[in-house]
């Protein structure tokens, strides 16, 4: 079950989270009361994450969201362990894509979070690897993954055309703040019965020719079945 949203990425990482922070929160927070008996095993998950060198903020966010949504105590620990496993996978992908020093970069916590959310939403690991390359860079990757996950949710993105599209988009002058527009463009193309490989190919070719969102929309509209 997906119980996270993409929205508060910026607000989340304000202070460092430690297992003690989590222990304190479990003791004092009223909405954590149902999990009182689970407190030691929950803290254990956070300690395991710390010993693996993972940032604890995404896990802590997951805990708070689970508590806010009143997830049953029996489900909470498996959910946290699932998140821990995903974070390990994402860190490996980020390190393979951007190098070992990626963990010291300013966008690492956000990269971990969007990567984990992507995998949780069913976005393929191979797709995430395509986006995690030095030519794209961590900053653009953080803006690119959420729209790609939404697009994949509408209709599965084929990996080979996705790779060309991602390269063309990251090299284009389109600012990362406008990447979200591709979600609704992709939806309109899908509703217009254009196959995903063709949609991505049209988008890629327009971007490579120096075109932008306006030209992509017009070419997709031309290709859509009336």
């Amino acid at each position: 079950m997906v119980f996270f949203s993409w929205v508060p990425l910026v607000q989340v990482f304000t202070q460092e989270v430690t297992p003690d922070t989590v222990r304190m929160w479990l003791q004092t927070e009223p909405m954590a009361a149902p999990y009182e008996g689970l407190s030691p095993s929950i803290v254990q998950v956070f300690e395991a994450a710390r010993s693996d060198g993972l940032p604890l903020e995404p896990l802590f966010d997951k805990l708070k969201e689970g508590a806010a949504k009143r997830v049953t105590p029996a489900r909470l620990k498996p959910v946290l362990e699932g998140e821990l496993n995903r974070l390990l996978k994402v860190r490996k992908i980020l390190q393979e894509g951007f190098g070992k020093d990626v963990t010291k970069g300013p966008f690492f916590p956000q990269g971990m979070k969007v990567g984990s959310l992507a995998l949780l939403s069913g976005f393929p690991e191979e797709g995430l690897k395509i986006v995690c390359t030095p030519s794209i860079g961590m900053e653009k990757m953080v803006s690119l993954v959420p729209p790609l996950v939404e697009m994949h949710r509408i209709e599965a993105l084929p990996l080979q055309p996705l790779s060309s599209f991602v390269q063309a988009l990251s090299a284009s002058p389109i600012p990362p703040s406008q990447y979200g527009t591709f979600v609704s463009l992709y939806l309109k193309a899908t509703a217009g019965r254009i196959l995903p490989p063709d949609t991505l190919r049209i988008m890629t070719d327009v971007l490579k020719a120096g075109g932008g969102i306006l030209q992509i929309e017009r070419e997709l509209a031309r290709r859509s079945k009336k």
Partner: protein, 319 residues
Amino acid sequence: MNRTKKVGRKVLFIGIWLTVFFGPSLSWSDVRVGMEGALEKRTDGKRVYLPQGWVDVSVSRFVSESFSLFGDFSAKGGWDTGMEEIPYDVSGILSGSLRGESFFAALEGGLRGTRTYDTPRQLEAYLSSNLSYIMTESSLFLKPFLQTVRGPIDSTTVALEGGMEKLFGEGWMGSLSFRPALTYYSDGSSELTLEPKLTFDWFPSVPFTANIRGGWNRRLLENSDVREESVFGSIEMIWYPTSHVILQLDTTVEKVYRALTATDKGLTLNSELELRVGLPYSKGSSELILGGGYEWREYSEDPQAEDRWFVRVGIEWQL
């Protein structure tokens, strides 16, 4: 041979030439078959059933990064309990597009044959083009159009639409265009249509999109008398509310405020809804289609409004 027939033959010749030239270079890419049952209440009050089936074939070939070829072939037919003959709608479209750093050029040709309850038999052929000059966040376009219709009323239409498109804000696009069109009828008469149009598209970062169009349409007879004058507004929305569900709503309102006969004047509301639901375990290759539409028309000098509605349920497979 009159001018309409001559132009019609030329368009047919170009269509055949395009098919022969482009056909072999296309590869089959998407074949869909479907069937549906529809119940329709027509404006004359009759209720009819329409069990129908269709085959849609789409082909595409990306010859290079700047040159693409596309083809769409569709055949739909079945029964209409309000007709003695079998209704059909068969069409084929071929198009090619060429893009460069600051231009886009496309050429499209299509043929369509239809037989419906209100059109005994009709064949349409058209050629359309799109020539655009592209800047960073805007473009200028010209769309020449040529169409010939063979049916109860033979006609040939030439049109040239010109306009500009602009991207503004995040996810908003606007377009302003003007389309004059001249139609020649086989009885020797002709008609000029003028249509300025304003369009807005909204593409937010969520799975939803909206298109709002509005315009004015004026049809003039040869002697410059106004045959009809109207304003229209239209909104189309596409929404992906949850997994494997696409919802489309298209609504148009048109007000005819000047017409040759008083009974042509009036207000029309037309709305259509379509819901496509991907069936489980089919990996998106089959969809359930639920649709409906309602059209309401009121004439200025006739207190009795007329309406038409339909509901349809269908299924489509992607082979």
